[in-house]
């Protein structure tokens, strides 16, 4: 922790950055912090409650964060995948940003977790993670840590659904998606949902009905999932943010598996890996072209 605070202080004092985006404790747990003076660096923390994917604040649509100036951002290895994604899609220039990589021993499912990190509290995305820092980082802080063993098979819930008949699956998703009220928390917390004007907000034509009835909700949630195919960084923030308790991560996870099987693409913190949507290979499957 001291190492992180000292580094942040130094970056601010030397005016290498105007603000550091990290984590701080609040009344209930941990929340994102924006520190713009060296004295404030003592607020910074990093532990297993640091769940939030901070690169979400780097998307260009965050005008007030952009207004802070040059930023240093605290990133776990998995968060760096979002930075890589934003660079890959020309939303961000690596040189305009200082990345503070943290050695992470896994995080809990929610930032207010009061229990120790273990099989029961470990976030799904940490299942099978090695906990290494990102190669993108300008600085790496913290002692090496080990991620606790997972409480089970991460894809057990997906496997269960895959076994269902299409009718059963439809019924299940109808039940879940009927809960959606279109608050768009899933989109707003997503680091890769950076569109200036989301397709859900377009009215000419009105691609997606804005009413939270079942067809509008299918239209929205399925479109979003497809738009994130090969782009989702698997941070699970959409599912965590959903006030309707919809297991949105399942959709993204399913598409990630398809992207891996069909295009050999796995989400990575290497920005030089081409985006599947933006690259073409001769051996790409083309059987869907009639």
């Amino acid at each position: 922790m001291e190492e992180l605070r000292e580094l942040a202080k130094k970056l601010l004092q030397e005016k290498q950055v105007n603000a550091v985006v990290g984590y701080e404790c609040d009344r209930r747990g941990v929340r994102p912090a924006f520190v713009d003076d060296p004295a404030g660096c003592d607020r910074l923390v990093f532990d297993h409650r640091c769940v939030q994917n901070l690169p979400a604040y780097l998307s260009p649509r965050r005008t007030n964060v952009a207004g802070l100036g040059r930023l240093a951002v605290v990133v776990k290895q998995c968060d760096a995948r979002a930075v890589a994604g934003l660079i890959r899609e020309s939303q961000l220039k690596r040189e305009n940003l200082v990345l503070i990589g943290v050695r992470c021993g896994g995080v809990a499912a929610n930032p207010n977790e009061s229990r120790e990190l273990g099989a029961e509290t470990l976030a799904l995305r940490c299942y099978g993670c090695s906990g290494t820092e990102t190669a993108m980082a300008d600085y790496v802080v913290g002692e090496p840590k080990t991620v606790p063993a997972a409480g089970g098979d991460r894809d057990a819930r997906l496997a269960e659904i895959e076994k269902m008949s299409p009718e059963e699956r439809l019924a299940l998703w109808k039940e879940w998606l009927s809960r959606c009220t279109r608050c768009h928390a899933c989109r707003q917390v997503c680091p890769m949902c950076f569109c200036e004007r989301c397709v859900a907000e377009k009215t000419q034509p009105n691609w997606i009905e804005s009413s939270p009835h079942i067809q509008g909700n299918f239209s929205w949630n399925v479109t979003r999932a497809l738009h994130l195919a090969g782009r989702c960084v698997d941070c699970g923030e959409c599912e965590r943010a959903c006030p309707a308790q919809i297991p949105l991560g399942l959709l993204n996870r399913k598409l990630a598996k398809i992207m891996s099987a069909r295009y050999g693409f796995a989400v990575t913190d290497d920005p030089s890996t081409p985006a599947p949507i933006g690259s073409y290979r001769l051996d790409d499957g083309q059987e869907f072209i009639l």
Binding site: R28, Q52, N64, A185, R187, Q188, E209, P247
Partner: protein, 353 residues
């Protein structure tokens, strides 16, 4: 003093009667979706589903009287000629059992704006059809702050009955004429008894809630009125993602959008849908001009509307301290902490206001 008591068994019988008579019964029910357990208000088919153990439903009661999407009318169109089919504004009887006092109070608070010069037939149609049986809270968490906005875990506002848990039974407090009518048809189930007052459990809850936030609403309102521009807004709003989650789980947020949707060739519906002041689109003009230019302006609006605009206009704080906005926020926006900070500013400002 004699009190009317209702056992859980008799409550279940009451629910069974109403279900049998075709009344829609809404109550907190337990849900489990992919490993996540929570409680929410939902229609029940069977009284055993009703969870009255004090867990707060993740979403408020407002959707019963203000559905997330509601059809205002349907229309048919043929060669430029239009025929409108009116939408009903009377609704079938609904009984809510187990409303949280903060959710029940919200209904009465929002009544004010829904009746402001123009009477919103949809809102009041649902209100009229709905009987609300609230249950005093037996538990609270660190996000509750009803006491700071003039309510309590035992508040009867907006409820027709308030049930106060007493062992395996409830003390029945009848609040409104609608509540009287409900009692009339269930008198034998609610015998009078001289059991001692059941307020002990909830006073402990009240203490716990009080410890979360102390606030002087009048001072807060005064400070807000004088500090539209303040560095605090910029600072607080940095972490806000600008989604509508806080508004959509808020029992008092009532902003809506109106949209037309086609339902086939030459026919469609006009609907009103929940909307929120946090997304940029809310106030965006056709010209591209946006009067609320960034998230700090939008977040300020949310606080202003609840603690300054609505109170000055309707004499009510547009917040019942349910704490859902705090629990639900992915970015850790904490209204209790924010109100405490504003409150402190207001104190420090003192007479210089």
């Amino acid at each position: 003093m004699m009190r009317r008591m209702l056992s859980r068994t008799d409550l279940d019988a009451l629910v069974r009667d109403l279900l049998g008579a075709g009344t829609r019964v809404i109550a907190p029910v337990r849900r489990k979706v992919q490993g996540r357990e929570f409680v929410e208000y939902a229609p029940v088919q069977n009284p055993e589903e009703i969870a009255l153990d004090g867990s707060q439903p993740v979403r408020p009661l407002k959707q019963v009287v203000f559905p997330p999407t509601e059809t205002l009318f349907n229309y048919k169109q043929d060669k430029g000629l239009v025929q409108i089919q009116e939408a009903p504004t009377t609704f079938s009887d609904t009984l809510v059992i187990g409303a949280r006092p903060c959710d029940a109070a919200a209904l009465e608070i929002v009544d004010r704006v829904m009746d402001w010069d123009y009477h919103d037939e949809f809102w009041f149609g649902h209100r009229q059809a709905t009987t609300v049986v609230a249950v005093a809270c037996t538990d609270s968490d660190e996000s509750c702050f009803c006491t700071a906005v003039g309510l309590s875990p035992e508040s009867t506002r907006g409820a027709d009955w308030l049930l106060i848990p007493a062992g395996s039974s409830f003390e029945v407090r009848v609040v409104t004429p609608k509540g009287e009518a409900l009692l009339e048809s269930n008198k034998s189930r609610c015998p009078e008894s001289d059991v001692p007052e059941a307020g002990k459990a909830s006073s402990a809850v009240e203490e716990k809630v009080r410890a979360n936030l102390a606030m002087n609403p009048a001072k807060l309102q005064e400070w807000l009125g004088a500090h539209f521009e303040h560095p605090l807004w910029q600072k607080i709003a940095l972490r806000c993602h600008g989604c509508g989650a806080c508004a959509f789980v808020c029992p008092t947020c009532h902003c809506f959008d109106i949209v037309d949707e086609l339902e086939g060739v030459g026919r469609g519906a006009r609907r009103r849908n929940w909307d929120a002041c946090q997304p940029a689109l809310f106030t965006l003009h056709g010209s591209g001009h946006n009067p609320r230019k960034d998230q700090s302006a939008r977040f300020r609006q949310r606080v202003m509307h609840k603690f300054s605009i609505y109170p000055s206009r309707f004499g009510e704080i547009l917040c019942t301290g349910c704490g859902r906005c705090i629990r639900v926020c992915a970015a850790g926006m904490d209204l209790i902490a924010i109100l405490a900070e504003i409150g402190q500013n207001a104190e420090e400002a003192g007479s210089t206001l």
